[in-house]
Symmetry: C2
Subunit: 196 residues, 2 copies
Amino acid sequence: MNYPDRRKLVHTTSKASIVYGNRGMNLESEINLSNTFYREIDKAIIYKKPTPIKISKVDYKQNGQVIREGFFEKPSTTDYNGIYKGHYIDFEAKETKSSTSFPLANIHEHQIKHLLDVQRHGGICFLIVRFLIINKTFLLPSYKLEVFLEEESRKSIPLSYFLEHGILLKDGYNPRIDYLKAVDEIYGGVLYEKQT
Amino acid sequence: MNYPDRRKLVHTTSKASIVYGNRGMNLESEINLSNTFYREIDKAIIYKKPTPIKISKVDYKQNGQVIREGFFEKPSTTDYNGIYKGHYIDFEAKETKSSTSFPLANIHEHQIKHLLDVQRHGGICFLIVRFLIINKTFLLPSYKLEVFLEEESRKSIPLSYFLEHGILLKDGYNPRIDYLKAVDEIYGGVLYEKQT
């Protein structure tokens, strides 16, 4: 019997080299590309927020500052926000390796609370979740999340819930993931066109 | 003649030790405190975006990751955004030591362009500028900035322009700077109350 070479194993399970289905790009990169496309065609202005970092040591060099010690911080909000058709948009995107449910441990409770707060203030909020194994990506509007915040016993959102209440996002070329089309489907009635 | 000690000079001109007028807090801290207050009273949900950092070296320790090398990147957008009365809000805040004008070199051209882009999409956009020496802080709506982007020869915005077209922001206790009051004054007609 041939035991697999450990180095090879480590290599093939490193994040960069995992290819689920026939895609080679992770969800974040695809959303970033889609946002760039949306900005280029002037459809929406949406950006990923930088990762919050606590800096504790900086060197001052001739050609600028170099951070020598820093730590990743818990984000206070969600990763993405911006404006679409005059509306404030706010969302979080997550991948899961589970094929049956999205574990709520993957998202901070205060991030879900943030989405519901922004929703209450009139924003358009949602989660984008990709199930890597079955290679399906869903958009789930925030008002479908309330039940999971209210019931503390809920530890995950079943795939069946996404199938019933979410919108399946199809792969494309440009944009890679046309999630604003799903936003139109869900919120169409409340959206107005941008000022020109 | 006593030449100043170079180390002392470096110390006294460091950002933290400069106190202009009778305030000990910089503009960024005051806006952050105001935003926290606005969130606490549920008036608006506005955050400062984290500073973008390019990470080039990370150590993996038992209790987490430590960034060992990183560099500050130019922000793609403005520092602050969020939602107020159902509207997308986007702004940049800057201090200047000049007492006669705000040098446009203090703000990236693409940041002004970003404000005007968001404005075109229906967002509420502005600059907050503090003149440290005279201890005055103004809010200037983005539609008053267009002229400075069109005329490339303009290198600064004169204080007189802020006096004529901006709104003077008064100091307070909580919020420290009630800039949303100025937003109401300027955009009052287009704002609607949040969904309840």
